[in-house]
Symmetry: C3
Subunit: 412 residues, 3 copies
Amino acid sequence: MEAGLFTANNVWMMVCTALVFFMHLGFSFLEIGLTRQKNTVNILFKNVFIITVGLLLYYIGGFNLMYPGFEEGDAGILKFAGFGIAAPEGGMTPEYASGGYTWWTDFLFQGMFAATAATIVSGAVAERVKLGSFMVFTIIYVGLVYPIVGAWKWGGGWLDGLGFYDFAGSTLVHSVGGWGALIAIYLLGARIGKFGEDGKPKAIPGHNLPLAAAGVLILWLGWFGFNGGSVLSADPELTSLVLVTTCLAAAAGGVSAFVTSFLKYKNFDLTMFLNGILGGLVGITAGADQMTPNEAVIIGLIAGVVIVFGVALIDKLKLDDPVGAVAVHLICGIWGTLAVGIFGAMAGFDQFLVQLAGVGAAAAFCSITAFVILFAVKKVSGLRVSETEELEGLDIHEHGMDAYADFRMNQH
Amino acid sequence: MEAGLFTANNVWMMVCTALVFFMHLGFSFLEIGLTRQKNTVNILFKNVFIITVGLLLYYIGGFNLMYPGFEEGDAGILKFAGFGIAAPEGGMTPEYASGGYTWWTDFLFQGMFAATAATIVSGAVAERVKLGSFMVFTIIYVGLVYPIVGAWKWGGGWLDGLGFYDFAGSTLVHSVGGWGALIAIYLLGARIGKFGEDGKPKAIPGHNLPLAAAGVLILWLGWFGFNGGSVLSADPELTSLVLVTTCLAAAAGGVSAFVTSFLKYKNFDLTMFLNGILGGLVGITAGADQMTPNEAVIIGLIAGVVIVFGVALIDKLKLDDPVGAVAVHLICGIWGTLAVGIFGAMAGFDQFLVQLAGVGAAAAFCSITAFVILFAVKKVSGLRVSETEELEGLDIHEHGMDAYADFRMNQH
Amino acid sequence: MEAGLFTANNVWMMVCTALVFFMHLGFSFLEIGLTRQKNTVNILFKNVFIITVGLLLYYIGGFNLMYPGFEEGDAGILKFAGFGIAAPEGGMTPEYASGGYTWWTDFLFQGMFAATAATIVSGAVAERVKLGSFMVFTIIYVGLVYPIVGAWKWGGGWLDGLGFYDFAGSTLVHSVGGWGALIAIYLLGARIGKFGEDGKPKAIPGHNLPLAAAGVLILWLGWFGFNGGSVLSADPELTSLVLVTTCLAAAAGGVSAFVTSFLKYKNFDLTMFLNGILGGLVGITAGADQMTPNEAVIIGLIAGVVIVFGVALIDKLKLDDPVGAVAVHLICGIWGTLAVGIFGAMAGFDQFLVQLAGVGAAAAFCSITAFVILFAVKKVSGLRVSETEELEGLDIHEHGMDAYADFRMNQH
């Protein structure tokens, strides 16, 4: 391969890595924006913890666990701490990964992905989870569960052999996070005040909608790298198609969610608009390289409707998901994965069944492992902060800090 | 063309597309920051509406309308909904656009531009425009007016034939938006309290200056893509020159505006500094590839002075432009367009006259179409919210939401 | 060199330039977030001043001063205002800089670096420095001191001849800023209320921790360009290694600082976590291309510990550094510079001594020049605002503006 092409490929992948990294600011802003100010420092701490510890864990073991085949003849998938010593032969040349990028770029791009799963959970459990318990969960979920499921498909494992397709992770990233979130909010219970005496859900308004909106726009920007980088090279045709399908699905998801929610609730709901954009993005992720622009718009439009009814469903189940993570990442993740069997170049009944199998496998493995981890943590140290702490805010109790020291606040 | 060069070109254009997309967060932050908290959700909603609907409209028809020549033998410029079906032959290869990028990248880069015109209007009409009426205006302005004017020059139309030059859109983007803004604030009238009984303008302070400053820095960052991508390839000499002229004009515009305003008003006015940066950016946009760095600095310095007097002029005309959009985008857009006839490689009296013709054509077409659209909307559904709604804030009335639920506010 | 490779190199360098530019938003957010709301407009003004004036100064003279060898036969290092006239022969072709980038890209990338040194000082002197005095200091420090020290190594001067190594500026950027910060806070004195009657330091809480955290994440993103661009080409192996070492050091620095501070103070301190990330980034900067990933983690872990004790040391010395700039940029800058002699490909006792010499030379030159400039400014116009102004806030007094006009505030 000519040096120019290899270099251009690697440049694109490094840019995408930076964009996926930046998604962690998007997640932080979204999560802060949609919750109360008294838990802001706690949320920031969790998110900074996830990106730093997640990257180190992926370095220590996750990368090898997820891509076991890179160094043949080695001891197998559990070569913990094996990564750091040296790059494999040819890892810095076009011999590696068909000239798409270097071994170092590969690691860093995948490492930025890894932390995302835990971040999704973080939003769902906000405002009541014990920090230490969440940290333990994060370490195990990012360090083990995510790479194992990833290995099934991206590491060339059994789901890959079956013909399962998940371009950039509707299932492998978003549903993995989504199942963790669902199990976690089931075990945690709702925030105090979320459901009235009559069992009806009450809105607990977010405290900073500019940051929430900024979070979604930053996430959309990050998705240029999340999906665009999943081409694993800068192939002009594929990368540019992927950006088009990604952006059109995002736009369609947003518009569809805002119109659906306007028809259902008769008001212009900004948070539904924002979550619709995210739903469109998650929905297109599994097949971003397989769809025409028209199909991308359809997938986005459906995702937007799914979001509105998904959020209502979570409420009806008496589950409390402050940021809508389950509707966005789990339900739209499933939708996107199945859509690969319905629309696009791979559509077909057999493919649909394979996609369903992948969804089911992730569902079983992630919900069981999440349950086991969280149940064990609950028994050992408890999952939830005390009532006092929840009412007064986690910031003061866990961090001794106030996110907005100079501002006067309403108590609630 | 070698694969490496084509790939590198396309990578740059995709990066620029992402940066132009990110400008929408910049516009949102700037607009929020310079207005009152009670209208924040409304502004965010408008901006998210513009980027999502704008992209879909450009997909449905705008792209074909603006670049009618792409598929010869077709029915002409009104092939609505024609885009999505398939890319043209050669659209993914270096045969297309001299190897500068693929057809998909072309669409997405141009699509991100399209929404900008409406965003400019959004800032000017903030805090009093009816959401539904603004949406209708946006749809027509972004879906039809912007692509038609664009086609005159960038689509190879009559202005292009005349020799008019507008590198990245001082006229085609910024003035198009600016004329819409000017007509809109004329028809809307000033916000309650903007002009005293004596007719003197009163400052209505913005509620979040960190977001306003962040907005300007994000817009500056976005301009790396807005101007840098308008080279339509990654040509090293031209792209890097364009980034240098762009950044120097921005810096010069900011410094000049702050010094001018210090001399005029004897205080260090942050918002004037920020608008000066934007003025410099808008001013260099028409000729960013034609100027030497020295000329870029001069254009920026003049733009900064223009901003200070432009803002004062708008006030004197009893027009109410909460964010200074007319001074920044219209007046500096005109200045930048004319500057191509005064400075740089194309300077000359004939060129100046052609530039003036382009300015005049955009002025006539945009102000008339904006007037017709807005006047019709005003008759049908009204442009302006009720007095109660304006006083209590659009967030509560149009959205049933509060942007900062936990914070205590001053009433005004 | 093939056109594709040259173009890919230049694309990467332009992307890195944009990312380094974006760091100025990161610095602004961090500085705002960790200080009080009454000084927010002032901080924003200073930061916007630094980036605009810094770029213009670098254009007028700094670039030539720092890289005197570019145009041989010229009058030497003091060719002020020489830059803008024309690019040197070959400056736009692969003949220049081994095809790594064009002359324009070179200027802009270096120009974005230049302003950083003053930004570091800005954080340390926040909430009490006179705006005009700070501007004068900035102009001299960015316009003269920074380029002179830079010329010693990056301009091929005596430190370079000695074998001193500083990949991306642990010393040449961060320590230069850090020494300025240290001298400035010594001459300025502590903010009113920082030290009690008993001499014990009291925490003055920052007013916007979401912005502080966002600032650090934006800075981390910017470091992709700061270190990744310091390769001065897109060489796939080196750039990707540099991104890996940079990110691992950041993660390790954050985790190490939060654990150290938890052990020392028994709480989960978000600002220590954030400063630990920055410490790791500054620490890896001198040797980002020389270290293995394992060594990068070790350098980051040590930087995290250094931050916690460094912040405590500054307090003990009765110095008041609101954002921790001295611990982050000066102490970790020294640590990173020395680490090149301890770890990585260049490690060795001789190298360590040379690194020590570079640290010492920067210490002497920067602290003396900073002292002279600041002392002179102090004598002429004073460095510090009046007590009334400090208590009531710089925003009202210097700018006549309120950063958050609609919000109710606590007085302190």
